[in-house]
Subunit: 475 residues, 2 copies
């Protein structure tokens, strides 16, 4: 008799598989207010590891953390015309505080450009105060009509960077630096997701930006997920908030700004990039638990796994011990698969006598399969770093191969829609598509995810010769 | 001519000194919505260090981080009668979302017991699921009528722990463990604040708790500041949210709970415990910058300070280099004093020739003064750990001596009011004071900060024989 599947298979119903995995791996629950979420410890642990890594990269990029208020006077939002137009439909509004109706309604921050500029305009006086490089880790609220856990939630967690520079070139270079060296490097080398770096079309740009750089990943169903953005804001907010500096020549000049963010959506991206029908697969460089050492049964096995766990941890491997022998082994094994711990070491009475254990890989290379093997316990410390690196490499390779095999070159809007609807990405010359073709795609729930240069680099403008539009369905 | 003071002297006007320091050391600004604050990078850096240290201790206590939503349905609050009575006057209410009036108003969390219990009641089924130990780092909102930066703000940052246990004893022991081993140990040994551990009277208890443990510090003006609390919630929230478990005997039982929090108020406590007329003094174990190496003038000095900075960092000392020789040295020295960096190493052309530098201590022991001394550069790595430990010890000693010298034993309400009004603390037998005396104190803006046993331990109940009330004015 075949085992009943733990999750709805991806091939049967991908959205249901996603929801099943989130429930069964105990990543998150839906919150009581529509579109909010409760991030459970195992899900939050993924976010903590992402935060640690990104925070170090952001600090390396010279930015310092600060904290701006959650509450923004409604009038701030209206100062930048495009910004308010973009965000007004998504606002949560506080009208009562301390038992009284407020004189001016307050919005719960959907993003912080306006309130940040109110303070930048005080802190920046002279060219000596530039560049000003600030980041904050915070929650933001955007009212969601079609919420989905981690992907589109009314409240989400993120970091938002805000910087001010003396020149447009400096701001452009900084936005590009964050795009490539903070975000892309993290997503590719830690998360193992083969992101495409591109620029958004005018239609998809951040409300108030002059340029939006994006990172797009292909999920296992062929849809695209925007995993982070880095914006050049030009002088739009500086004009609205009078953020000016005295230049070396003694002139008052507007600052040039950037903002950039990555959110708890990254957890959704991780799930949909690497998860399979047995559960999540966490890349070892991200995993809080890289190796779980499981006692199958017997007190001797319990003693042994604790000993192995301590030895692995001493060797710098993030190992956890599972000594709950009162719970059936099979149920625990299924649970570790669901949670996506990269390597499982199983120790039972029979192995002990021989000084061996069974090593089970969560990420198997189909070209050289070796899902389960008997290994000598005293060789684990030496063996595991290689096994973990192989898993890391394999996840990125799968992500690369998926994108390569499911991206097609097309020539017409019709072909692009067809490719996207079939669960793939399409590349079409932007000169052939243009804003009119883009509007037509929208009628089919398909969008231009980004523009890229023919050589894969990020074009400097929309009309750079040879610019290609990457077209897909998206989350 | 005497130098104009950088800050209003403490003796002249303590509240103004506090505000001056926060402005000039660039710790925080007032936010645009009344009672909110912008935490600037140097102030946020203090919070990040506090978070790191507390987070590690919380994890050692077995709790895992998670994240619950900011938005709570108003109806949740009303389920626990005392809780809603305590918090209703302080709520911020969202009435509109996504451009529409909401069917049920939403409150912005003032604390999370209610929403946490809604989920605990789902997650906890059997005794095997207990204890459930959860913590979250988050922002909360309580409408403040008399706001003051860091001390009482409409929005503040904190951690809030929430746990569920099988028995009252377990919950009581866990609340006490957090009180002593997480909070007190951190405040005494890292922050250098000599806190008193006690229990709150019924009047001062958290709304919904059966017992509140508190940590009270004496500020340099003799007032008290509550620096953290750990509550036993009994089964109050469990009843309201049906948080029950199946016991080993197969019975449905209510869980026993705790909650505990520490906030950005700790930054205010740090300032008012250790700050002096020249600015902040940061304890070395907390300081993100323990040593600043300052080039006075000249390119050679710049080269030298960079070299020294690298060497100190390699030796595990958190050192920063100040090579801004275009800015007058005097101004930079004043700024480092304001920011409270424990040790300054000054390097000028004259010192270089002799291989020496001037070591300036921010924290001077009045019994063996040595504020400035010439030291050999090649001996710094060896010398500094001792100098830093001396500063750490000295700050705690000052805090201890202050409390000892400014606490008096009194016998009547009148004497207690007199002592508190004069800027000190008073100890009075709780049996003599009682709830009536406590109410009388309130008329003089004086309160019972906590109850302690005669031997300084925390009494098990309000009417334990020999219980002493600690009386003071408080922030």
């Amino acid at each position: 008799m075949a085992k009943a599947p733990v999750l709805t298979p991806q091939a049967d119903d991908f959205p249901r598989w996603y929801q099943d995995l989130i429930n069964k791996a105990e990543l998150a629950d839906n919150g009581p207010v529509r579109g909010t979420m409760v991030i459970r410890p195992y899900g939050y642990g993924l976010w903590e590891r992402m935060q640690q890594d990104l925070d170090a990269r952001i600090k390396d990029a010279g930015a310092q953390n600060a904290y701006f208020p959650l509450f923004i006077p409604q009038s701030y939002l209206t100062r930048e015309a495009e910004h308010v137009e973009g965000f007004a439909p998504e606002l949560a509004v506080v009208t009562h505080g301390g038992g009284k109706e407020l004189e001016e309604p307050i919005v719960v921050r959907p993003t912080s450009e306006t309130i940040v500029n109110e303070y930048f305009s005080k802190w920046v006086q002279s060219y000596r105060d530039l560049p000003l490089l600030i980041n904050q880790w915070a929650n933001v609220v955007r009212w969601e009509l079609r919420p989905r856990v981690f992907l589109r939630t009314t409240e989400f967690l993120w970091q938002e960077g805000h910087t001010a520079h003396a020149t447009r070139e400096e701001a452009r270079d900084y936005a590009a630096h964050i795009h490539r060296n903070v975000y892309a490097d993290f997503m590719v080398n830690v998360l193992g997701i083969d992101v495409v770096l591109g620029r958004k079309t005018a239609r998809e740009r951040f409300a108030g930006a002059i340029n939006t750089l994006t990172l797009e990943g292909m999920m296992r169903d062929g849809k695209a997920l925007q995993l982070g953005t880095s914006h050049e804001l030009g002088t739009n907010f500086a004009k609205a908030f009078h953020t000016e500096y005295l230049s070396k020549d003694g002139k008052q000049e507007l600052v040039w700004q950037t903002s950039w963010g990555a959110t708890t959506r990254l957890i959704g991206g991780l799930i949909m990039s690497h998860g399979d029908d047995n559960g999540l697969r966490v890349p070892p460089r991200l995993a809080a638990v890289q190796v779980v050492v499981v006692a199958i049964k017997g007190d001797e096995a319990v003693t042994k796994v604790r000993e192995i766990g301590a030895k692995l941890r001493a060797a710098g491997i993030r190992a956890q011990v599972d000594d709950r022998i009162d719970t059936p082994f099979g149920r625990r094994a299924v649970d570790w698969e669901l949670k996506g711990v990269p390597v499982r070491i199983e120790v039972g009475p029979r192995d002990l006598a021989e000084g061996t254990a069974v090593l089970v890989r969560r990420v198997v290379d189909p070209h050289s399969p070796g899902g389960k093997e008997s290994v000598r316990i005293d060789e684990l410390t030496e063996l595991l770093p290689t096994v973990l690196e192989e898993a890391q490499t394999q996840l990125l390779r799968e992500s690369r191969e998926r994108r390569a095999s499911r991206t097609s070159e097309v020539a017409t809007v019709g072909e692009a829609v067809e490719a996207a609807t079939a669960g793939g990405w399409a590349r079409i010359p932007w000169a052939d598509l243009g804003p009119d073709g883009e509007a037509e795609l929208a009628g089919h729930s398909v969008s231009v995810r980004c523009l890229v240069a023919e050589d894969g680099s990020v074009p400097d403008s929309d009309d750079a010769p040879g610019t290609v539009a990457l077209v897909a369905r998206a989350y």
